[in-house]
């Protein structure tokens, strides 16, 4: 009867946590789409969506409803199963990242200590990499299964872009890991909380590289070559409609939030509120404050993404590749060497 020998409460706790995190993430994502439109509008001196609900706050729900109500169209010439799997994969991969992000310190409920993190994997950063590298399959499979030249082209672009920038991203992270000495995100955040400076102080260049690469990984403008409307009509989700399209669109935003969360955790102290001593308040409140801090940081990063999107024009494809291979990677290598040299000299 070893089957029942698990700590069921633990599992239930984690399941609830997962559900909450996923649902919250989805909710935030919904509002990020709204936020995107609002930010775009504000940056362009216009009001943005404001009809549905007060200040247009119900707009994302309307959008979602619209996507769900639309007709499901699966092209005849497509590979049916892959066509369906594609968006699901994209969505799953982007949501899986949140498993290792520490959303806050532990809270105490019903006599249990509940970590606000689904799993403290000791190789959390590698896990993130693994998941991120999976994400590209969603796009590739979807693009290919559509049996449309534009979709295929953009899927290929997405893949090559993702692969290219992953390298620089990894190298930038390695430099960070050299300073932290651990791969666990929780430890990294705790180190920053406990009196040290935030890692951004040690790794400014690394952060810039990571940030740029994160943008490229999320297919955000100026790296949104896969969706370059003027060349590729609509990109890899050209043939998609209804909620499958919605999944692709959501996946992009989820990615954005997740990369913001990662950046916040790794370079900006995660749930650490600076100049505030958490021990002065009750642990649960401290956790809530931490969560709020992290969310604010995420929002700031998301805003930064959007800000950039609405400022900088899209790259040409060769420029994109040049930037990735000839600028980012050498720069990341340089950063790594520099970090190594500094660490050694300090020793």
């Amino acid at each position: 009867m070893t089957l029942l020998a698990f700590d069921w409460a633990f599992i239930i706790e984690k399941l609830i946590l997962i559900a909450i995190i996923v649902l919250t993430t989805l909710l935030i994502t919904l509002y990020t789409t709204f936020g995107e439109r609002k930010v775009a509008a504000i940056l362009q001196d216009r009001p943005g969506p404001n009809r549905a609900g007060p200040f247009g706050l119900l707009q994302p729900l309307a959008d979602g409803l619209k996507l769900i109500m639309k007709e499901e169209i699966i092209p005849n010439a497509s590979s049916r199963w892959l066509f369906i799997i594609g968006p699901g994969l994209a969505m799953t991969a982007s949501l899986m990242t949140c498993a290792v992000i520490p959303w806050g310190t532990a809270i105490h409920l019903f006599g249990r200590t509940i970590e606000l993190q689904v799993a403290d994997v000791n190789i959390g950063i590698l896990y993130i990499f693994a998941v991120v590298s999976m994400g590209v399959y969603g796009i590739m499979i979807g693009g290919w299964a559509s049996n449309n030249k534009f979709s295929l082209m953009s899927a290929l672009r997405a893949a090559s872009q993702a692969i290219s920038y992953e390298i620089a991203m990894g190298l930038a992270l390695i430099a960070l890991l050299m300073t932290t000495g651990t791969l666990s995100l929780k430890t990294i955040v705790e180190d920053q909380t406990a009196g040290h400076w935030w890692n951004i102080v040690y790794q400014p260049l690394g952060f810039v590289i990571f940030f740029i690469c994160a943008m490229a990984e999320c297919n955000r403008t100026p790296f949104d070559l896969p969706e370059a409307e003027n060349e590729l009509n609509f990109g890899y989700h050209q043939e998609y409609s209804s909620m499958k399209l919605g999944f692709y669109l959501f996946a992009e935003y989820v990615n954005m939030i997740m990369s913001s969360a990662i950046m916040a955790s790794m370079y900006f102290g995660g749930y650490d509120l600076p100049f505030f001593d958490e021990t002065t308040v009750a642990p649960n409140i401290a956790a809530m404050i931490g969560l709020g801090t992290l969310l604010i940081k995420i929002v700031l990063f998301v805003f930064l993404f959007m800000w950039i999107r609405w400022t900088i024009p899209r790259f040409r494809y060769d420029q994109l590749m040049n930037l990735g291979w000839k600028k980012m990677i050498p720069l990341a290598l340089f950063n790594m060497l520099l970090t190594g040299a500094l660490i050694l000299s300090k020793l």
Binding site: I42, L43, Q44, D45, R46, P47, W307, I308, W310, T311, I312
Partner: protein, 178 residues
């Protein structure tokens, strides 16, 4: 070549320096520009609620006018159709019968009068051509429609509401006040 005006700016073709090639400064400049726009006043006019003043010479939808007794001015002379550069106007004339004097100003009237708003370029030539002051361009937009057919405005769509019987409608159609 000598510049014709002093407005033209010669393109600077000197190779960019290292810092320029980094584009960082320019990127930050650009970002600041967009950021500064956050705090600018929005020029948006919230349309259905707010409307903007039209200029006095604005040419909107056509209106078939009536005289002060509420009779149609149009005599179906066809001059407007001749003047129309887009050939958007068609009409059929009819003779005024006994007992219709309160409807039509002259003996002849337009039994059918259609303007294809998809063709119309809102040049106002019809207005100028009309000897009877029967057609003029209002200040309203052409509303959206689901079918092409809906854009062919017939007489009912064009005729201005009767001043005597329906004064409010008239005022609304003129678009002068909400």
């Amino acid at each position: 070549m000598q510049a014709l005006t002093n407005k033209s700016i010669a393109v600077n073709r000197t190779p960019m320096t290292f810092w320029e090639r980094m584009y960082l400064i320019n990127i930050i400049k650009g970002m600041m520009i967009t950021f500064s726009h956050m705090f600018k006043k929005q020029p948006t006019v919230r349309y259905p609620e707010q409307k903007r003043e039209f200029s006095p010479v604005f040419r909107g939808l056509h209106v078939l006018n009536r005289d002060e007794e509420g009779r149609e001015n149009c005599t179906a002379c066809g001059l407007c159709a001749v003047a129309c550069p887009a050939e958007a106007i068609t009409m059929e004339a009819a003779e005024r019968q006994e007992g219709e004097e309160h409807l039509y100003k002259e003996e002849k009237y337009a039994a059918k009068y259609e303007i294809n708003m998809l063709r119309c370029i809102f040049c106002g030539l019809c207005e100028e051509a009309c000897p009877k002051d029967a057609i003029y361009l209002s200040e309203t937009f052409a509303p959206a429609n689901y079918t092409r057919k809906g854009f062919i405005y017939d007489k009912n769509d064009l005729l201005i509401p009767n001043t005597l019987t329906n004064a409010n409608a008239l005022a609304k159609a003129k678009g002068v006040e909400a």
